[in-house]
Assembly symmetry: C2
Homo-oligomer: 337 residues x 2
Amino acid sequence: MTVTLRDVADLAGVSFKTVSNVINNHPHVAADTRAKVESAIERLGYRPNRSARSLRSGRTGAIGLAVPELSLAYFAELADAVITVAEERETVVLIEQTGGDPRRELEALHGARRQMTDGLLFSPLGLGNEDAGVLAVDFPLVLLGERIFDGPVDHVTMENVDAARAATEHLLAGGRRRIAVIGAHEGEVIGSAGLRLSGYRSAIEAAGIPYDDALVVDAGPWHRRNGAEAMRRLLDRGVSFDAVFALNDELALGALRVLREREFRVPEQVAIIGFDDVDEAQYSLPSLTTVDPGRREIARLAVDLLLERIQGADTRPPQQIRSHFGIVARESTDPLA
Amino acid sequence: MTVTLRDVADLAGVSFKTVSNVINNHPHVAADTRAKVESAIERLGYRPNRSARSLRSGRTGAIGLAVPELSLAYFAELADAVITVAEERETVVLIEQTGGDPRRELEALHGARRQMTDGLLFSPLGLGNEDAGVLAVDFPLVLLGERIFDGPVDHVTMENVDAARAATEHLLAGGRRRIAVIGAHEGEVIGSAGLRLSGYRSAIEAAGIPYDDALVVDAGPWHRRNGAEAMRRLLDRGVSFDAVFALNDELALGALRVLREREFRVPEQVAIIGFDDVDEAQYSLPSLTTVDPGRREIARLAVDLLLERIQGADTRPPQQIRSHFGIVARESTDPLA
DNA sequence: TCATGGGGTTACAACGTTGCTAGTCTGACC
DNA sequence: GGTCAGACTAGCAACGTTGTAACCCCATGA
């Protein structure tokens, strides 16, 4: 039924161990032996059995990716990028959705699925810096996102503060002075919300504009519906503003929807900028200016770092790596005439 | 280092095979033996080794999901649903992206990754009905989508024709008479495009409206950008229309963007309906009427069918299963006053 | 009393691979 | 000519699990 090393060996007239040597590119295999074996492999359509290989070697050739949920465009596009990079490295990706629930995030770290992978790319949402201890695990782990910074592990993240500052400066450069923020998380210091908010704050204060609480709206999860709802709350407060910095694109698109519903002209009356550069941002009306946080770069850096740790080649202390960001200017922030 | 059956057996004072029997719920294990073994398992934190189990039993406990790309919201949301259902069945999902490329789709069917899974959920895009033969594989396979209907395999799909007819009727009921179609694929008979177009056609003809080629616009891949571009082509043709049926939501959102750019009032001058009910459809402006094709139902049916085939419990001939659809009426098709 | 049967448990042999070790052979060197 | 290094190949023993078949023992019925 299934073709094994032994079958190949019989056909090639060598021992099955020699076939194994050929497959694993051992040195000291004579060229003609290698040729014989390879043609036998070809003839029989031999494929190494991954379970047997894993059992013996302790490697699975797979990595895990734990994210909140694929329905969020950012994570879907991140997963896309991770899978694509991993494929180039002959590695498969096993996706787990945690829903941002701390309990399920812990399970992603310690659950039974870990056995099926050699390491994990972990993007927590429910766990925070106070949980950094749980990251002390005995398998290769690369942390993504901005929920935890004090963990004893490699961490690939984006330049949240600098990028948020740049986003805010982009609005300021367009002549805006009263810039609202959508998507804050009350009291959060680190975490995407806290970091981006602090970037915002440093930009406006550098421009001599005082920070105004009334312009900052909390939102729960960063879905469109929460962006819409937050914008409604902001409008209902009756404060005036001429720009909005939504802390991610989904929030921005939800907020944009409400702005236009209430017949604000965007960008003439209100400019809006998002964060993430999801594909969709190009196709809203107006198209959405946003921050490209370097998603593909993050995927590449994270996968490569994880694979190096798995191979044991990399024995450096835990790394903190940041991707490069850029402002993608589109219609939603066209400067005032 | 790792805890094995033997360690548990030693602690419990039984043979390692008895431990195996306990774990696999074999009948004929005395209650007190079971208790002893279970407490030993607990004490040592024993976890069965999946590679060893796979090697011996031939089962991996994983299924594959091959889709064009996760960046397309429909597939991201489908993957979300599949992973969620599979998790409830203690099964992990291994996602492969084919990019809709026939070569990579074939690889998904025959490639090395198949070894890591017990079966495959396969949503082709590049392969068509003429390739049905390649689906004759020796592992459990459940086909998704509407590219291939003549395959010798289980197939879970949506009611494309009926749903498209209902979508068109929804527009007709709103008083629209000149309904354009965006996203056709020239000459396609089956496939989502072909089927949905034929549903459209049967609806308008039943309403006594002749089919007009000038109203039907081709588009390549169903991305926003193609929807936008197709809408531009349609407008450039100079034909008049009072409604648009976009064959999926992404096309609809791209088209909507162009309509509003060109200052059409939606839905007053032009109504638009999509297909898929992606999350985003609720947050566009105007919100997008669409067809809910029963994505969660598809995921559940497909996973359960695949798992039954894997267990060998299901020996029926290949099944054709269809999910239930519904029209989700939103602002973009508000009826004419 | 002895065969019978079945509950409960166990020994043994795989599953297909790789790490380690040991071997054989050739050619070069002193 | 003998020794030795190095190139090349092979044998054995795991890795941790499950299927098969066998075992023991006690209760039952003849």
